[in-house]
């Protein structure tokens, strides 16, 4: 009786009209009949779609900068932040002739997300210090074998011709949030050590 909403069930003997069931059945029929004239609650899906939230968490994209170079520097913060451990990457050093391809001196040679492990929590997006990875409103296409769900850079990196628009996710509030050191994944290594009170030498 904490909420005072529970009702005590009383099993009393039913009255004659109740035992006949017919009045109750007619009431039920009346209710179902009234639904004939109600608006449908469903939509005709492929033609109509429901509005998608601007911060819908769907398939990831690895962004390029304005010059078309990949933003990811393979710092591994996203992989650390990922609670499902879906992200793996191999870092490599940029060669001098690759400056137009990669923005930072280090880049991800391979970057894989296992979409069957991914829970689309968006922590990778929050963790990323380089604004390189974003979740988008695109859905993961279904296939028949599990291997094809491991998405590599060929799928994740946006193409130069058709960049993926993520401006809706980059509001000032979001950018502010990303600097908040309260969150573990926003801290650098040095921040973490300062907080814990240990010295770097120890």
């Amino acid at each position: 009786m904490l909420t005072k909403r529970s009702k005590l069930v009383v099993k009393r003997k039913m009255s004659l009209t109740e035992r006949l069931y017919l009045p109750a059945i007619f009431n039920g029929l009346k209710i179902t009949f009234s639904h004939l004239f109600k608006r449908t609650a469903t939509i005709k899906y492929p033609e109509q779609t429901r509005p998608v939230s601007p911060i819908y968490r769907g398939m990831h994209v690895l962004k390029r900068d304005e010059a078309g170079a990949e933003r990811c520097t393979a710092c591994g913060l996203c992989a650390v932040a990922c609670p499902a451990e879906a992200i793996t990457m191999v870092a490599e050093e940029r060669k001098p002739e690759e400056t137009h391809l990669y923005r930072e001196e280090k880049y991800a040679a391979t970057y894989e997300i296992d979409m069957l492990r991914c829970i689309f929590c968006g922590l990778c997006e929050e963790a990323c210090p380089k604004e390189a990875i974003f979740l988008t409103d695109r859905l993961i296409p279904s296939t028949y074998d599990r291997d094809s769900y491991v998405f590599g850079k060929d799928i994740l990196v946006e193409s130069i011709e058709a960049p993926v628009d993520v401006t809706k996710r980059q509001t000032p509030e979001v950018l502010e949030f990303k600097k908040d050191k309260k969150h573990y994944h926003n801290r650098t290594f040095n921040d973490a050590i300062k907080k814990s009170g240990l010295s770097a030498h120890k």
């Binding site: 059945i25 039920g28 179902t32 009949f33 639904h35 004939l36 109600k38 449908t40 609650a41 469903t42």
Partner: protein, 342 residues
């Protein structure tokens, strides 16, 4: 000879109409279910999904024919055949309309006017259960067998109450011929006025005989994964489903004929219609009544939840059967008081 040709044509027409109505009943069922549940229903094939039954039919034909290796092959094939045969046989005695005159001669829109029409209907319906039983047993599957057993127990139980409900009707009309029953209703009132309780019992029993919700235990998906037709695929499954919808069509026609004046409609003589035009209107009116009851069957299906099997038996044996007996006695007493018995 002329009569024979006409009757043969009528048989063909009734058969095709039954099949067509059954096909579109599947569409109607899905649409009505959808509307009652605030959905859209099938709308992909053709305008408003009107070609859906054709698409379903093609799908049924194209599906792989599977006969389980442990099944009894001949009986497995025989089951749906019997179901379909008995379903199609019942339409023979239904009077679809008045007289149709072609040239000099005029013909009844009824294939055969048996003087035991009602008994014929009951007889055919009672053999219809074999289609389900044989199919369920031959599948060699627990669920199918359970479905078959449930079906047979249920149909036997409700046939008795159904027959007794009809006896009340036969007492008031004094005939077993469906044609005469229709004519008597044209002269007086519709039989529902004389036999409201009989109608109620008959109607409830019709649900049970058709294995339709709320009495669809022989084929409930949730308990028996389809019941007696679990193992069936392709057109044999199609036969079972088709037979069910034909049965629904015919039962609606029987209810309209027995209790709601058949093809006659109120104030028929005042309309001043004559000849073939009147017959056409009669057929349309009859079809209207039939479609209303088919709608009612579907409407109830999406309103009342399924009974438990013991509740079903309780209703059949302890409620409907005594009620039908009381109805017979009451009818007899009222007729005796009225002096319509000599």
């Amino acid at each position: 000879m002329e009569l024979l040709v006409f009757k043969a044509l009528l048989v063909l027409v009734v058969f095709l109409v039954s099949l067509g109505v059954a096909a579109y009943a599947t569409y109607g069922e899905r649409k009505i279910a959808a509307f009652l549940q605030d959905r859209v229903g099938p709308d992909r094939a053709g305008p408003f999904g009107l070609l859906q039954p054709i698409a379903d039919g093609v799908k049924m034909f194209m599906k792989e024919e599977i006969i389980p290796s442990v099944s009894n092959k001949w009986l497995f094939i025989l089951g749906p055949c019997i179901a379909m045969l008995t379903a199609c046989m019942t339409g023979v005695v239904i009077p679809w309309g008045g007289e149709l005159s072609i040239g000099e001669s005029s013909f009844d829109l009824q294939i055969v006017d048996l003087n035991i029409g009602i008994l014929y209907l009951l007889g055919v319906v009672s053999t219809g259960v074999y289609g389900i039983m044989i199919g369920g047993w031959a599948s060699n599957n627990k669920y199918s067998l359970l479905g078959a057993l449930r079906a047979s127990g249920q149909m036997i139980s409700y046939e008795i109450a159904m027959g007794l409900a009809i006896i009340g009707l036969v007492m008031t009309t004094g005939t077993l011929s469906l044609k005469e029953i229709v004519h008597l209703q044209d002269a007086g009132y519709a039989n529902i006025v004389y036999q409201p309780i009989g109608f109620l019992i008959f109607f409830i029993c019709a649900f049970a005989e058709l294995n339709r919700a709320p009495f669809d235990m022989p084929e409930c998906e949730t308990e028996l994964i389809g019941g007696y037709h679990t193992e069936y695929s392709s057109m044999k499954l199609g036969f079972y489903l088709f037979a069910e919808y034909i049965n629904m069509f015919i039962s609606s026609a029987v209810i309209a004929t027995l209790y709601f004046g058949g093809y006659h409609f109120p104030f028929e003589s005042m309309t001043g219609l004559e000849g073939n035009l009147l017959t056409l209107v009669q057929v349309l009116v009859f079809m209207g009544k039939v479609f209303f009851f088919m709608f009612f069957f579907m409407w109830v299906r999406w309103t009342i939840p399924r009974f438990r099997y013991d509740q079903l038996m309780h209703l059949g044996w302890k409620v409907l059967l005594p009620l039908a007996l009381i109805n017979i006695f009451a009818t007899g007493i009222i007729m005796w008081l009225n002096g319509s018995l000599n």
